[in-house]
Point group: C2
Chain length 431, copies 2
Amino acid sequence: MDKSVMNIGICGAGTVAGGLVGLLKKNQQLIAARIGHPIEIVQIGSRNVPKQPVFDGIAFTDNIFEVAENPKVDVLVELIGGTDDALALVGTALRAGKSVVTANKALIAEHGQELFQLSDQVGQQLAFEASVAGSIPIIKVLRESLAGNEIEAVVGIINGTTNFILSQMSKPGSSVSFGQALAEAQRLGYAEADPTFDVEGLDAAHKLTILSAIAFGTRLRFDAIYTQGIQEIQLEDIRFAAELGYRLRHLGVTRIQEAGIELRVHPTLLDEKEMLAQVDDVMNAVMVMSDAASQTLYYGPGAGAGPTASSVLSDLIDISRGATMPVMGFLPGETRAIPALPIGQCQTSFYLRLRVADRPGVLSRITRILGDYEISIEALLQKDPEQGIATIVITTDTVVEERMDATIDKLESSTDVLEAVIKIRIFSFGG
Amino acid sequence: MDKSVMNIGICGAGTVAGGLVGLLKKNQQLIAARIGHPIEIVQIGSRNVPKQPVFDGIAFTDNIFEVAENPKVDVLVELIGGTDDALALVGTALRAGKSVVTANKALIAEHGQELFQLSDQVGQQLAFEASVAGSIPIIKVLRESLAGNEIEAVVGIINGTTNFILSQMSKPGSSVSFGQALAEAQRLGYAEADPTFDVEGLDAAHKLTILSAIAFGTRLRFDAIYTQGIQEIQLEDIRFAAELGYRLRHLGVTRIQEAGIELRVHPTLLDEKEMLAQVDDVMNAVMVMSDAASQTLYYGPGAGAGPTASSVLSDLIDISRGATMPVMGFLPGETRAIPALPIGQCQTSFYLRLRVADRPGVLSRITRILGDYEISIEALLQKDPEQGIATIVITTDTVVEERMDATIDKLESSTDVLEAVIKIRIFSFGG
């Protein structure tokens, strides 16, 4: 690459592309003072003609592959999203001898392995800071800042839409249901018209796939992630949990255990005093536990034009400064074959809500079942019965999930228990 | 540097050096998998013979300069602290063609300018991630992750000792005085026998000097920092502020205004809902405001063997990976000459506590004085008088500090006001 300028091509002409072009224009001199030369936009490629005025005056093509093969382009920025075309596009650019910066979490989570191999073969960088948690530099933190540490766990709020919805439902005295909070998120532009991808946890699962592989030096394994969304969360459980000192967040959790690595995305209760429990609305935050640095946390906006552009630009600047970094933080030959744990073998504590018949001895029979399965009760809340039905809320000590599930089967088969038991996992940073 | 191994020499044999040696031993294989070769400790230098067993078997000298000139050493790690010997030592190592990693904030804040010039001349790296905020990678974040951003402000809890003391004093219902909290901090090893350096804010001022220069691309200017410690904080003000929804923290604040850059370290009230207000005990956190990434926050332990060693090691790994980085994030010729603002020209809102004579019309006379100086009142709290003396607590809108001080002079010259007015700055992230 000619060191007097870095020439980039951008594929995609949506919000993030607009943010990036605007940022490059606004901070042109500042960036040159930091890296020694300007970053110039040679060409923009997009199926649709860009509408934002910020793109005016930049060469445009509706053939994205033209940008990937343009000999004037040093680095391709992939912002088209999706996986099929993006995979072909990034492959084309790498084979044409260009480094690539992408914000595409689905592409990396599902096809990263083959792309990393290709980038290694052709000796080009493939950077994807913007793919996880917006402006939070969590990829760099894991690959560089904590590179001397054995990572123990990465736990994060990595989807702004679900965090906004749960924040709305969790406000003191809130009577906002999931459906109402989702509608509000859509009104504010925080959720798509079809919110499935965010609400059911797939977006978070893509991001967790990437974080886990870098943290533990394994292959990317999107298929191994246990994913549960927030669509079935009821206000009642948020309130009971609050009485017990917990707040509900939708977390991605990846943690190393003796038998393997936990990979799970689900609604989770946190002690209300935890830093992660303070993260409201569309903000993201990732807590990393490691042997030397101990607990560190990284917080910021998880999406949006500016924050995403900030991370794309940090990758471009790293490439221009000539850092050579193993894509996944570990050298290609050093990937570790640590098994992924199925959800049944994950260990956590639990919140349970039971509807029981209000009759003598019911509490003793229920707690006896828990005792039979060696499940210790941490706290118990019994609510006044209504129309002969009592509500019991129990939090437990840490237990392997399959034992918890067997216990719940047993509880549900009892004539005392009238409805399916509600189960929510609790994450504790202590153990 | 021979790429099959990185040979380091360590000067200093205290807690952090012990943490670093232990970490290098424990994670040897992991580090090699991440960077492609081991990091070997060639020699330790210290005035005092090291006592920790972790140093056993490593070549030792009581002449630290021998390590700096040892031809087998690729990179010198400076952990002796202080400024005089450390300056000579780092200079010797750089002139001997070695890169240097240091955790020494006083050295960088007071002598960084000449050392950066030297490192640039000799073409070696000078890295100091561990000098600010323990395991929090705030130097890397400012130099790399946010390198595409115009930084607007950096605001942080960057001294664990003062944060521990204020946390103790701020617990709900606490009757712990400054002196008692300090004694507790000393008992737990969080404060030195002579706590002056931490408690009076000098340690935080060193760190803020470094953060400000990197954030804004200026020279280091330790002398320009306004520094106020926490030794005069009274429980009463913590309680009144809590009633108004604020928590007290000892902050370093550097922020760009039209006329220049604010550089100030002092006790500060924060809205209790702010992330920084949740940071308790010895933890550190730094909030960065910037144009594209928006508000991002970085949280972790600010001191200790493991966290500091983690950051030292991240610098060693960066050097081994061959990143070439302008030491201060801007190229040497690109330093910006933005003036530092004296405290009188800083803008903030204020908490005031007044003891006034309990007689008719006093409140109206006091608020009239504020009005005469065009100071808007945000909230006012009047406490029941005791023995003819009433307490009035006022929070104001944003105002230039010298105007606030003139107003306080006027208030204190009034016969209504019986004691010196207590003034505490409030930081608001909104403006």
